[in-house]
Symmetry: C2
Subunit: 329 residues, 2 copies
């Protein structure tokens, strides 16, 4: 059945059945009214919004609707994680071609609910509309303590560190786009990395509660994102490329390209952070995922990122990260 055969209002009812009752007692009104309402306490709230557009951010040739639901919420939760916050509520805007299968929309919501349940997020409202392509916009709200992680707090002398591994999401995209085949373990790892990123919420909270001030999530690519921190903090950065944590499966699958994927691939949704070495040392022991020191913050041209190899020689790197609108379309 197509969504145009079911109609907007029946589709909303179907979705309400998948979303179910809110898990938080703070929610006064969930789906079905003009807006949603919840109780707040005296604290700090974090809000973010991010859109996924068919044939810009994803193609239905390589992603299932369920994975799309997961990813749409994941990238927003990751922004909350990058501030050291804990996500709580999500609002969903959907644009759908009328020919979309109702079952696809149900699958999308099942994917949303999978990650919402995992991260204890309540989907408490939204709206939908017909559209020429599939569009999924999520807005996510979260809570934070007084110590928020920002892009503008890096200081010369800070170490630069990342959680987890780099380049696997871009490697997964490359595999899916090119139809490459690897052994089942590698395929599953790369696929999950691209389609089912796991935002580092627990890690962000460890950072915020243990003295780290500067962080962001890796969405555009390491070099590009580090340049964002540098510009916001008015500092430069030096990265030792041989220290980048590249997963053995990525190195094995793409031996020639793994460094490039780690530097510019983007979408790993790991946390990039900077802090004094004693602070980094402390959080290393507390973080649920591995932490690797990959460079240091310097005084210098804001946003400049210089790469060094294991012999201490500067290397050229011209590929930039992701930026929208950098071609006429």
């Amino acid at each position: 059945m197509k969504v145009w055969e079911l109609g907007e209002f029946a589709l909303i009812e179907l979705i309400a059945g998948i979303v179910g009752k809110p898990s938080s007692n703070d929610i006064i009104l969930g789906m079905g009214d003009d807006a949603s309402a919840w109780r707040t306490e005296a604290s700090i709230q974090i809000g973010t919004t991010d859109i996924l557009i068919q044939d810009v951010h994803f193609t239905l040739k390589t992603v299932t609707w369920r994975d799309l639901g997961w990813k749409a919420l994941a990238i927003n939760i990751s922004d909350i994680a990058a501030m050291g916050g804990k996500p709580s509520y999500a609002l969903v805007s959907l644009g759908l071609p009328p020919e979309t299968e109702v079952d696809s929309v149900a699958e999308l919501y099942r994917g949303l609910m999978e990650i919402a349940t995992k991260y204890d997020v309540d989907i408490c409202g939204g709206n939908m509309s017909s559209a020429p392509v599939a569009i999924i916009n999520l807005s996510v709200l979260g809570k934070a303590s007084e110590n928020i992680l920002t892009r503008s707090a890096a200081l010369p002398g800070d170490q630069i560190a990342v959680s987890g591994y780099l380049g696997q999401a871009a490697a997964g995209l490359k595999m899916l786009k090119s139809g490459l085949e690897f052994d089942p373990e590698t395929s599953a790892f790369l696929r999950e990395a691209h389609l089912r990123p796991c935002p580092r919420v627990a890690e962000g909270q460890v950072l915020a509660q243990n003295g780290v001030k500067a962080a962001m999530d890796l969405s555009d690519g390491l070099v590009s994102d580090l340049a964002h921190i540098g510009k916001a903090s008015h500092v430069a950065a030096r990265v030792w490329v041989h220290r980048l944590p590249i997963h053995p499966l990525v190195n094995a699958a793409f031996p020639e390209e793994s460094l490039g994927l780690a530097l510019s691939g983007g979408e790993d949704y790991e946390l990039l952070f900077t802090a004094r070495s004693d602070v980094v040392e402390r959080v290393k022991g507390l973080m649920p995922s591995p932490v690797t020191v990959i460079g240091e913050i310097l005084s210098g041209e804001p946003g400049q990122v210089t790469l060094y190899d294991e012999r201490g020689e500067a290397i050229e790197w011209s590929e930039s990260g992701w930026e929208h609108f950098r071609s006429p379309g």
Copy 2:
């Protein structure tokens, strides 16, 4: 200059200049980081999200980018108003074809800022992306007292009332689409009604603070929206069509069609509410805009809306309000 020539990051800087500094001292982080952050107090927060898509909700043939900015925020503020809340923060997601003029984006933001300033809303974050058509998604947060207006609180015996007038937004759309010409006063009135709706925030707060429990904003059309209240409250409704407040300029411009526009036109963003007659009488004296009693709530088939003329005879009305996906595209 096209947005692809300027690029995403320079465009964000340009927008930050238009948005300027937040007016609320509660905002800790506005634009430019992974997410936005603000202080909350122990109260009730309301959240809503709504999307406008080119050639679904608007055409750039009849709307300017500045008006589009106004309207995108207006429809979300209206959802907050319909709950009796006061809007505070907005997050903006933009999808733009790379060929879009940078000046158009600036105009869009100027329109957003015009209404944001009028309603004391801070635009405190967002994201942008390339897209096949223009897409504007707003998420707006607001505050409310304990008394929230919902669609599910109408009771048999309640009077049904509306703020302001009905049908003028649809009349404006009709004028713009058909290229009709009226005297300058009528043209300006109809144009403003369609392109620059003024959400009833003060009115919603009067309702919530003076005993009204059931309300929604008129976006789909009176009959359709009243059916939403009926279904949510498990009641039926009776409307006296000769009592509908239709503006004299609408009656003069569309004498044959004005009743239809008032019943099904939608997008007036007036408030539709129900309450006991003594409560309606009280709020009438307190509301900044006119209040008209147009019918009553009855026990009966949930969502059923029956229309009566001045002779007390039931009249047939087959046109329904707006529903997405009700055709294959």
